[in-house]
Amino acid sequence: MKSSAYSRSYRFLHYGLLAFYVIFALFPLYWLLKVSVTPNDLLYSEGIRLWPSRPSLAHYTFVLAHSDFPLFFKNSVIVSGSTAVLVTLVAALSGYAMSRFDFRGKMWLVGLMLVTQMFPLVMLVAPIFKLFSPLGLTNSLTGLVIVYTAFNVPFATFLMQSFFDGIPKDLEEAAMIDGASRFRAFQQIILPLTLPGVAATLGFVFTAAWSELLFALMLVSKAGASTFPVGLLSFVSKFSVDFGQMMAAGVLALIPACLFFLLIQRYLVQGLTAGAVKG
């Protein structure tokens, strides 16, 4: 029974490695949660422990009741949500065009879109500020949505294009012969099959916008239009860092992102195109 011993040790190694990876990836999140429920007086006095001896929700209560966090939170939802929807809308159309049409200057367009991804964003902060300031787009959520949309559309377009490439052309051609216009075929046949792609794009853009700090910090200076990552910085004062509250805010900020992925995960994993062609 040499082979069964071999397969057992192989399985042990297999799951051992997986467990190691999962723990490695999730430990910071766990630490976030642990610190958020540790009362301030125990934070430095207890040494390194996996769970505080006296967990408390005091930090959460404070963050929700006595800080601007709910406002930051709302701003972030508005900015990230609108950016995700806007980018996905544009990327779905442009990705479809990239996937299905040949047009003059297509290579140039692709090249230019790639170029936008090559610049370190820091370089663009000053010019964008100069541009936005006279337009009244600084200190405004709209300004942030515009910037985020502009920066996310190229990548999202490539992402959507790859999803459209995976859907056989025959399907929309069949629809067009059945009597649909191209747009109708796109809307009724192709788009429902690209839902996993749409979900992936929504999720990607939403998280990107949700955690963006640089522009949120540079373009917005008044608290009323700050997003949550900027808000987190308010827990850092000149003389101390309020770790407990900061982590509590962090945990709260994870909730919408988690909810969002829970919502779209059905589409992320579904291979809807199975059975479309051949077999």
């Binding site: 059945d178 059975g275 062609v277």
Partner: protein
């Protein structure tokens, strides 16, 4: 139903031409098969008729109306794709009724048309299933059902049976033929399978390199191939092609093959003494016999039993030949065998142009 006229149609992608001045006229209710090797332009031509490819030059008429600029949806044709192209998120019923829904057909009529088509194709029990739960043959049927519910002017088939296994292909071939007989709709069928072409077609259009080589009934193409390409492409096992030389002896004409073996031929309209020719003969026309009866001899190289008959590969000094016999022969390899090539069965082609010699 409608006739389809293709006049001087050409297609090029940039500077690369893929179809050259194609002329073809298809009668109302006719079943025409476009056949040729991959890349010969047959699918492109079909897609141009469907409106899925633009037309570079010439005109296509469906039912007398020029459709060059019409969108596929306005041409009133139906198409069955090689990949079936079923809408995976819709049930069989929705797949079949999609075109009717787009046209705003009343629900009662839609239901009756779909169930009529479904029972014709044996799909009644599958109407609420999604395509991914169906077998290849069932998917193919749904694809056909989707086409027939609309009663279009013409059916276009783009290698519809290529993805099916041999048995199923045979079965579906028969069904397509029956369906055509029942509905009588003008059909254009693209394939590279010459058995499909021979069995289904009223007329076959053989294409190569973007040019129509020959148009005719299946037996026309089989018995009087107009050039070497058609001769070689139609028929399985493939025709034997031998190198030869034309001999003119006064009025008598003969061809000389191999080491001086002469076969007199039917009178040819032209050709001069010593001209290089290619001589074609179908395997079933090669007569072999194990007895040495004074004719030319050859050795058996390989024997392929087919069930229906036997293919015997023989080699003479200067050429190899395939013979197809209905008997179940089992010659050991190396057996000496005599063969005969009947003059009336020879196809003689110009070696330079590949064209058949006019008789």
């Amino acid at each position: 139903m409608a006739s389809i006229e293709i006049q001087g149609v050409g297609k090029s992608y940039g500077a690369m031409p893929v179809l050259h001045h194609v002329d073809l006229s298809i009668q109302d209710g006719e079943f025409v098969v476009l056949i040729g090797p991959s890349g010969c332009g047959k699918s492109t031509l079909l897609r141009m008729i469907a409106g899925l490819e633009g037309i570079t030059s010439g005109a296509i008429r469906i039912g007398g109306q020029v459709v060059n600029e019409l969108a596929p949806k306005d041409r009133d044709i139906a198409m069955v794709f090689q990949s079936y192209a079923l809408y995976p998120h819709m049930t069989v019923r929705d797949n079949m009724s999609y075109s009717l829904r787009l046209r705003g057909t009343p629900v009662e009529r839609m239901t009756s048309v779909v169930s009529a088509a479904a029972s014709k194709l044996g799909l009644d029990a599958l109407l609420d299933r999604k395509p991914r739960t169906l077998s290849g043959g069932q998917r193919q049927r749904v694809a056909m059902g989707r086409s027939i519910v609309r009663q279009p002017k013409a059916f276009l088939f783009d290698e519809p049976l290529s993805n099916l296994d041999a048995r199923l292909r045979e079965q579906m071939r028969v069904e397509i033929k029956k369906l055509h007989r029942e509905l009588g709709t003008t059909s254009i069928y693209v394939t590279h399978d010459q058995v499909e072409a021979m069995t289904l077609a009223d007329r076959i259009v053989a294409m190569n390199g973007g040019v129509i080589q020959q148009v005719g009934t299946p037996l026309d193409l089989y018995e009087r191939p107009t050039n070497l390409f058609v001769a070689g492409f139609i028929g399985s096992p493939a025709i034997n092609i031998l190198e030869g030389r034309l001999r003119c002896d006064g009025e008598r004409r003969s061809v000389e093959i191999g080491s001086g073996e002469r076969i007199s031929t039917a009178p040819l309209a032209h050709g001069h003494d010593g001209q290089d020719v290619r001589v074609g003969i179908r395997p079933e026309d090669v007569q072999i016999s194990p007895k040495a009866d004074g004719g030319p001899t050859a050795h058996v190289e390989l024997v392929e039993p087919m069930g229906l008959g036997t293919i015997v590969h023989i080699r003479a000094t200067h050429h190899a030949l395939k013979a197809f016999v209905l008997e179940r022969v089992d010659y050991p390899v190396g057996t000496s065998i005599s063969y005969e090539l009947p003059a009336s069965k020879l196809h003689i082609f110009d070696a330079m142009t590949g064209q058949r010699f006019p008789e």
